[in-house]
Symmetry: C2
Subunit: 232 residues, 2 copies
Amino acid sequence: MSTITSIRQMAADRDDLVEDTGSSIYERLRDDIIHGRVKANERLKVAELASRMGTSTNPVREALQQLRGEGFVIMTPNRGARVRPIDEEFVRDICEIEVLIEPALTRWFVGIATQADIDELERLQAEIEALNFGDEMKHSNLDLQFHRLMYDRHYNRHAVDLWVRHRHILWAISRGFPTSLSRQSNVLDEHRELIACIKAQDAEGAARAIGRHVEGSGRHIIERMRLGRHAV
Amino acid sequence: MSTITSIRQMAADRDDLVEDTGSSIYERLRDDIIHGRVKANERLKVAELASRMGTSTNPVREALQQLRGEGFVIMTPNRGARVRPIDEEFVRDICEIEVLIEPALTRWFVGIATQADIDELERLQAEIEALNFGDEMKHSNLDLQFHRLMYDRHYNRHAVDLWVRHRHILWAISRGFPTSLSRQSNVLDEHRELIACIKAQDAEGAARAIGRHVEGSGRHIIERMRLGRHAV
DNA sequence: AACTTTCAGATCGTACATTCTTTGTCAATA
DNA sequence: TATTGACAAAGAATGTACGATCTGAAAGTT
């Protein structure tokens, strides 16, 4: 037993110098694409990436295939992979889809919400307001919990998965961007209105509120992208 | 060398009875999953698949990664891939998403449609009616052209890609299933109503029509799945 | 009975071979 | 002389083979 753990430890130590923070090749590549560290439509050469990542070509190839499945790279036969541009259009497209999906998920939630759910939403909202955008990471987590509480029990797993993926992407893009004061107050307002509608069993109102929420969030991200072009 | 070719030949011969029409490994795997030829949650072993496909393991691995990106298989580290169940729920989930997306795409199309577009739609519709569901493949192609004409120029490439993917999946599932007479007439009616709304510049009406179209199509596929559970 | 050891089966990583694309050079022609 | 075409060689993607590592379960040991 001790031998096994020591071997594992050695492997971990050996990789520390290449800074392998548990992040897989897939995640590193995706992050590079989302944050624009690789230019749009740039060609991704397997051998080059492999040497950069400190591995052989196979893991890179598989990561690229996965990214292709998710639409982050575009592959043409015998001609390799190119990065799909992650620009304002991309964000707008995703947000427009979410403007369609999230209201539907929310409408359904209004029908099944219990008092306990509402209490939990208000508790999270109170925590968010108390934090007041002090810690980006914590806020993001609370916000995630807030929306997850509404969507996680939905029967349409496919739609929820889509939402999760889109949220990951948007979060990765907007990470590091500061949230404007105006957007901050809007976020709080929209959450409060959402809770009020759920309390009043007003499904349509809740749907409209979440629609505005998503749209405002998207607009804010796009504005930030236009300003600070990757303040990594 | 001759040994290798003979081995390949053997593998090819063995698979000829499963019809190897030059289709890629990815497509074959995806087809197997969509058509339920591999059971839900079944484990997919690369070596086994490789020999079945008559190739080495690497192409299979990459195909699996791509399928993972698209959500058809679920992979856990060092533990391989499992099949994501493709059942009525899956179809319902996809259709519900399309019920949200396609009306939005259609609404936009009404705003940019030219007389030439309408003429082309009517031409395609006339062809569809003339064919009258005689040739499944031809009908599918015409129907694809019909909807593609409306969606292809949309600015939201992400939404259109999603539509294309979903349509491929649904088509793969419903291939081989006969279309009931009632559904046939409904399809024609819905197309006609759609064209009428576009002519009249009635965006909302067109959106409602396409919504009913998608919903009816989904319902029909699910009914067929319930009936012919193994008409492979 | 619980824990450890062992081993087969499968995944993951590396190295190499093959095939296709692309690029650059050189000669032939207008 | 400039342009085009063929052709060779480099570059890169795809496929094959094999070794290393991990998992799961069945054996044996205390």
